[in-house]
Amino acid sequence: MTKYEWERELKNNLKRVPEAEVGRILDYYNELFADKAEEGLSEKEIIRKFGNPFDVAYKILYDYRGGTGSNEEASQPPYGASAPFLEDAAPLESPYANPAAPPAYAPSPSVSAAYPPPAPRTAAAYAPPTPVVPDSAPAKTRKGRGGVIAAKIIFFLPYAIIMIVMWSLVVSFFAAGFGSVVGGVFYAFFSLSLLDYSIGASAATCGAGIAAFGVGCLMSVGAYLFFKTAKKLTQKYFYMGKHRR
């Protein structure tokens, strides 16, 4: 499917959507298409990733129906006058459809300059009570966060030491258990090679091997239980560190 075909399909599936809105949707996909093409993706790949135009249209239609809430009645068109974007569409569309016209928003890249929005927009209702510069907010948050992290580190240091000791014990238990199991098996097999030397020595070695294997198994089980406890405690510890004040 070519880009042209894809667009045509999408348009066909958006027949009940106002023209201005369809224009915006196509602009959106055109922009994404161009951005992806700049990245070096092929037309086919991009179209494949966009997905089936029918599905795309369905998503758009579904979202508006869900978003505006009470559009179940057949008498009402899928885009009732209550749809918030309808009021928005006209003032928004003008700068976009006609690039020569001056844009409604001051074309400044900074967030603070672009705000407040033009008066007739619904967004005007949200005019900020005080013209807070957004840039100051992140700095404040970061500073506060640093202090919290520092406090957490100091407060949880004893816990951290306990954690480290506990996990070392778990690891050493596992190592010991594993070593005993492997050693036991090795000895049991090694005893076979002693058979022609002395049956007694062979039997003793075999027994020792089996005993070591058993001890290793027990240790492994113990280590596993210890590991479970340690895991629970660690989860609790990290959970406290992350989500609890």
Binding site: L32, D35, K59, Y105, A114, A123, Y239
Partner: protein, 105 residues
């Protein structure tokens, strides 16, 4: 993931992606996708909704001889992020109950 839950989370993600600097469709998708599954067709309704709610405004600027639409956060949008943080505390508590039966409290 639950549709309603994801809808709300996506709004938070998009707001976060443009919180400190304006951004455009493709970049928003790239910034968000490591954290949450999002496609082009999913992003569009989210942006639409945020704009309708006045949390996002747009401007168009030229890029490589074509127009590109940039999305900018507004004051209500920033406030929405703060609301998200509060909501998340509540969700964490509920999650604790669901997954750990409240033993971590």
């Amino acid at each position: 993931m639950d549709v309603q839950l994801k809808k709300g989370l996506l709004e938070g993600c998009v707001l976060r992606a443009i919180r400190y600097d304006e951004s455009y469709g493709y970049k928003i998708i790239q910034d968000i996708s490591p954290f949450v599954e999002i496609s082009e067709s999913t992003l569009y309704p989210v942006l639409k909704r945020l704009e309708a709610m006045g949390m996002v405004t747009t401007r168009t600027a030229e890029h490589n001889g074509r127009l590109r639409r940039y999305y900018l956060i507004t004051w209500p949008g920033i406030q929405k992020i703060e609301e998200f943080k509060e909501d998340l505390k509540e969700i964490t508590r509920i999650n604790d109950y669901i997954c750990f039966e409240g033993r971590l409290q």
